[in-house]
Symmetry: C2
Subunit: 370 residues, 2 copies
């Protein structure tokens, strides 16, 4: 039901619509030339176009493992399973844990909530604050479920960043109760100031760390991964193999070729961070100018600005905005319950400066007329 409204928003978008709704990266930042070169090389060997192993290209898994090792999180290729986006990693994990209980954030990523529903996991949602989940409530729920799904870095939708203190407390509690965390980290490289240490790296055997190249390189690759202990990765592999045999090997070889020049990849990441920081600052200023009633804290990374228009039913607001060809996601869509909400998620990475100005002006006018 909720999914269908977000789909309704996205499907209403035509060429005239200004959209702050989706979670699209800025395609101007895709490293087109480098990816094209990396892709062309795939055709040097016909065997690259054959079936490949279900766990993913070994060299690529090695390179991802190396990225972890550089951050001080000891990882081997055997700890990595390549998936069709981190969305599929999440599906595989949920399939493995089907019919269990799971502790999640409220609000949470709707794509994950749908995965949990379809695999009959019963969700207990705990209030999320700007510095992370409420610890007391979390512990109470986790004690029972021994499984949680958290997005500690620039969460979707709230853009919140877990404090180091909360990360430490959560890690300790998971270790103590010997459960698992599913740590979804698609935005963790999109920090504006500094990278936080993951919860997973503090508890390597009790964590499932999800990563993706969709936000940093290009969503078209549809490549993500899960990092876990070797035993559970073997279990996931059986499911992965059953679902689709393996992920696109043209994309895997392309990515593997691209990552060979590690320095180039790091420059690219810095470029994205700089660019998104500027875009966020611009969006934040435009919000203060056009929608001064909108209360928010500037995010420290990621792709979203999250806040509220006190007392305004933003679900009602967006329906009026759709008629005026400007869209965002009203936050009631991200909550498990059916309550109304005055909160909004704005995506700041995809629109041009002109679109931001015009779009926010339109929303302000619609708000006055509401």
């Amino acid at each position: 039901m909720k999914r269908s409204f977000i789909r309704e928003i996205l499907e209403s978008i035509d060429e005239e619509t200004i959209s702050f709704a989706g979670g699209l990266p800025d395609e101007m930042l895709f490293p087109l030339k480098d990816l094209k070169e990396a892709n062309a090389k795939v055709y040097e060997h016909a065997t690259n176009l054959q079936y490949t192993t279900s766990d993913g290209l070994f060299e690529l898994r090695e390179k991802i493992a190396e990225l972890y090792n550089e951050e001080g999180f000891p990882t081997d290729a055997k700890n990595i399973l390549i998936t069709t986006g981190s969305q599929q990693a999440l599906y595989i994990i949920a399939k493995h844990f089907q019919n269990r209980e799971i502790t999640i954030e409220n609000p949470s990523y709707l794509g994950a909530v749908n995965i949990f529903k379809i695999n009959s996991l019963s969700m207990k949602a705990i209030t999320l604050k700007n510095n992370g989940i409420k610890i007391k409530q979390f512990k109470k729920a986790y004690k029972k479920s021994k499984l949680c799904y958290l997005i500690p870095d620039f969460q979707n939708p709230m853009a919140s960043l877990y404090s180091d203190a909360k990360r430490e407390k959560i890690a300790k509690y998971i270790l103590k109760t010997d459960g698992y965390i599913i740590e979804d980290a698609p935005y963790n490289k999109l920090y504006f100031e500094k990278k936080s240490q993951s919860i997973s790296s503090r508890i390597p055997n009790n964590s499932l760390h999800l990563g993706s190249f969709s936000k940093t390189l290009s969503p078209s690759l549809r490549l993500g991964w899960v990092r876990g202990n070797t035993e559970i990765i073997k279990e996931f592999l059986k499911i992965k193999e059953t679902i689709d045999l393996h992920s696109c090997s043209i994309a895997q070889h392309t990515l593997n070729n691209y990552l060979t020049d590690k320095q180039n990849y790091k420059c690219h990441l810095q470029n994205i961070r700089d660019s998104y920081k500027k875009k966020m600052e611009f969006f934040a200023k435009a919000l203060q100018r056009h929608l001064p009633a909108f209360r928010f804290e500037k995010p420290k990374g990621g792709m979203f600005i999250y806040g509220y228009l006190k007392g305004v039913d933003t679900y009602e607001l967006v329906q009026e905005c759709m008629k005026k060809k400007v869209v965002f996601v009203p936050a009631n869509q991200f909550y498990l319950g059916d309550e109304t909400s005055d909160e909004i998620r704005f995506n700041f990475t995809h629109s041009s400066a002109e679109e931001v100005e015009n779009g926010l002006k339109k929303i302000a006018l619609t708000l006055i007329a509401l």
Copy 2:
């Protein structure tokens, strides 16, 4: 358990091993130059590298629909869902029908059997003959399940081809009982003489027709599809979206560009058919020369030769052969039960003439020493 033995065989393959085990297409026939060109064009527009819709690229779905229309099977882009290989299409369908009964062939494709197991479908397996499934038994089982999974064209593993009479009887019965057929057709374009009319085209609203580009173009694309009525495709779309958002869009755009030159694609298909027919004839002659005790009928298409060594436990035989660095799949792996079998599936598409000669000689020597 069974899956693990086939994996054991496949994992035992090193550079010295001659393998008739996998279902690999001949990579010498991949249209490398054309695919490379089609792929390079993807980078002309950065938006091609953005997220895309879950049902798949519209232009690609239109082209697949057109291929059906040319065969006299009226189809619209809305009838098509693009999937990560036809394996994923099968997974999505099984997820939709989870906990149901399903009538399947005995022996059957192990990748499908595992999908049915993981989605808790209870399987009733009906004897498969060279001209198709046993009709009387099929009807009895189908009456109850109203759902079946069949591979009418050059089945994996048996290479059997359903007669037109059996196709017609099955179609009529499915229509009468208003159930569904899942018709898996990865090999249907690999005929040596003529193309058979699908069962699905006789009952467009009661059929789910699965197709793949893995056997005709390249497995590395990981692109397949399911054709069904628009209502059920909408249901499948919700599952597809939940599993992995969408299939690799670089691959989808590449394929879409490649298929723009339809004539070229058709020449390519004819080339594969001619080449595989020659390879099959060569393999069949080599079998008669080196393994005269092996009884088989020459297949009319596909990728496998299937037959038996009367009274020989081929599961035992392959374990000896593995030590001698030559492998095939013993047919007990494809049966639902635990009975021994004297049957063998040989893949004839992937090995060179020299490998066929040497491999079959080794098997003959191993057989004598058994």
